[in-house]
């Protein structure tokens, strides 16, 4: 295999690669092994610390926490898709008085951290006489941020379509709304679906921020269970379980996004375009 950096290795390079493999491999194994050894040495794998799993009440507690996480995720996902569609429509509008404020809103909410939004909503709204539950503080904060990000995704999807598409639609006598809903949006959404789903992974990950304002989701429950003396403070075992839950949920969504992207790439007819650089958008970093 020729890569940019390496030619097909000859005998000397193969020998060097083998040495590199042994040394690098030993370092990686030693690092992982040391972490596992520390975990074992501090008694994290002892049966008493894991006995919490056997209790039905605790299983139900964890299940309830998972449902709370999923509830925040589902609400925030649906609402941010809606808000994103609205903001994108405003940003694509022909009227400057709609476009300008939408641009300001989108840029503002993308520039400030989600947690600042959630904190401001949760601690700030009571001072003007509105009490808000922890769930809705999380949902509103996530919606404002991810809605703005999705608005940009939608807009980019529409703008990147060839101009001939809308010109042809106008030539057929379609109205502005018809051009958008019947011609541009279906194509843009198909092209943008992988990005949209990757953004939903960010929503799912960010729902963990609810922990910081006391929304009883997975991390909050981890903290509660971890302080139970009767199970010998099993915070690391519970955190391992919760991490496995989060990672498997996010991996499933990420896998779906990759699958859709691969499919849309192979379905497109004609010669594939030169491989565009994969972009890592700042929004996809999430929290």
């Amino acid at each position: 295999m020729t890569a940019v950096l390496f030619d097909v290795p000859g005998p000397r390079a193969r020998r060097r690669n083998r040495i590199l493999a042994v040394v690098g491999g030993a370092l990686v194994v030693a690092f992982v092994g040391y972490v596992l050894y520390r975990l074992a040495a501090t008694g994290q794998f002892e049966s008493q610390k894991w006995s919490f799993i056997l209790y039905e009440n605790i299983q139900l507690l964890l299940l309830g926490a998972l449902l709370a996480t999923l509830e925040a995720f589902a609400l925030a996902a649906v609402l941010s898709l809606l808000l994103g569609a609205l903001l994108a429509a405003a940003r694509l509008s022909d009227h400057a008085w709609l476009r300008a404020p939408a641009t300001v809103v989108v840029e503002f909410f993308r520039a400030i951290p989600v947690l600042v939004m959630i904190f401001t909503i949760y601690f700030g709204l009571p001072s003007v006489g509105i009490t808000i539950s922890t769930l809705w503080a999380v949902v509103v904060g996530l919606t404002l941020y991810n809605g703005s990000v999705l608005a940009e995704v939608f807009r980019a999807g529409v703008v990147s379509l060839p101009r001939g598409q809308s010109e042809a639609a106008y030539a057929l006598g379609m109205r502005k709304t018809q051009v958008m809903t019947n011609v541009l949006l279906p194509q843009a959404l198909t092209a943008m679906l992988p990005t949209i789903i990757s953004q939903l992974v960010v929503v799912l990950k960010d729902s963990a921020l609810g922990f910081l304002i006391g929304y009883p989701e997975l991390l909050f429950t981890t903290r509660t269970l971890g302080s139970q003396g009767q199970f010998d403070f099993p915070i690391i075992p519970v955190a391992i379980v919760v991490a496995a839950i989060y990672i498997s949920m996010c991996l499933t969504l990420s896998w779906l996004a990759n699958y859709l992207e691969r499919r849309s790439r192979t379905r497109r007819r004609g010669t594939p375009p030169p491989t565009a650089p994969e972009r890592v958008e700042p929004e996809l970093v999430g929290a």
């Binding site: 989600v114 601690f123 001072s127 963990a208 922990f211 991490a243 989060y246 991996l251 650089p277």
Partner: protein, 215 residues
């Protein structure tokens, strides 16, 4: 205005903490991300696999969970006891490095193989190929998204507020304790972030525009 002026000490300490955390974690994430990227493009399958596993796991873990682990679990492992600030910085480095690694790797992969083949055909060795041909081109594809990742890191430092680190995110709960109008205070914090983030965003867009024509 009075919310800002009365609590100026809080705001200054908060944003100084944010900037400190950002600079330390930023440098750390570039170093660790660079090592990971080197693993992911290395000719050794085992190292490639290890790098890929790390990136896939960390990218699909909430940062809050990573910081949670460092804040509540690290000191129980009895390796070295670290203060909260160092723990938060480590968590941010562990998380951000995965994204830095992906940016670096995809940047190297944007350089067409023909470029390297041509330079090897001219007799340039590995070091010269890398420094004279591949890196100058890869850098153009790498720097703009790298700035984006570091912007995200700057915003993510706020999460350390939840784990007893004094920085901009912790201004809001402190204002709440002092009994000030948090809605106004939150807007001031948001404004502070706009001031910090907008120059970086402008830099990123400028670099992107300037370097796009290069290929």
């Amino acid at each position: 205005m009075s919310v800002l002026l009365d609590n100026l000490d809080l705001f200054i300490r908060g944003f100084l903490g944010t900037i400190q955390l950002f600079v330390i974690a930023g440098i750390g994430s570039l170093v660790v991300g660079g090592v990971l990227a080197a693993m992911r493009v290395s000719p050794v399958p085992f190292l490639r696999g290890a790098g890929m596993t790390y990136v896939n796991i960390v990218r699909n873990t909430p940062l809050t969970l990573v910081l949670f682990f460092f804040a509540f679990a690290w000191n129980r492992l009895d390796i070295v006891t670290l203060p909260f600030f160092a723990l938060a910085a480590s968590g941010l480095i562990v998380y951000t490095a995965a994204f830095v690694c992906e940016v670096l790797r995809s940047g190297v992969n944007t350089v067409p193989v023909g470029q390297a083949e041509a330079s090897r055909a001219l007799g340039l060795n590995f070091g010269l190929t890398l420094s004279q041909v591949v890196m100058p081109q890869a850098l153009r594809a790498v720097v703009p998204p790298l700035v984006s990742v570091e912007i995200a890191l700057l915003k993510n430092t706020t999460i350390a507020a939840g784990f007893s680190v004094v920085e901009a995110g912790s201004i809001i709960p402190s204002l709440s304790e002092r009994g000030y109008n948090v809605l106004v205070g939150g807007l001031w914090v948001a404004l502070g972030f706009v001031i910090l983030v907008v120059p970086l965003t402008l830099l990123q867009r400028y670099l992107e525009r300037r370097w796009r024509v290069a290929r």
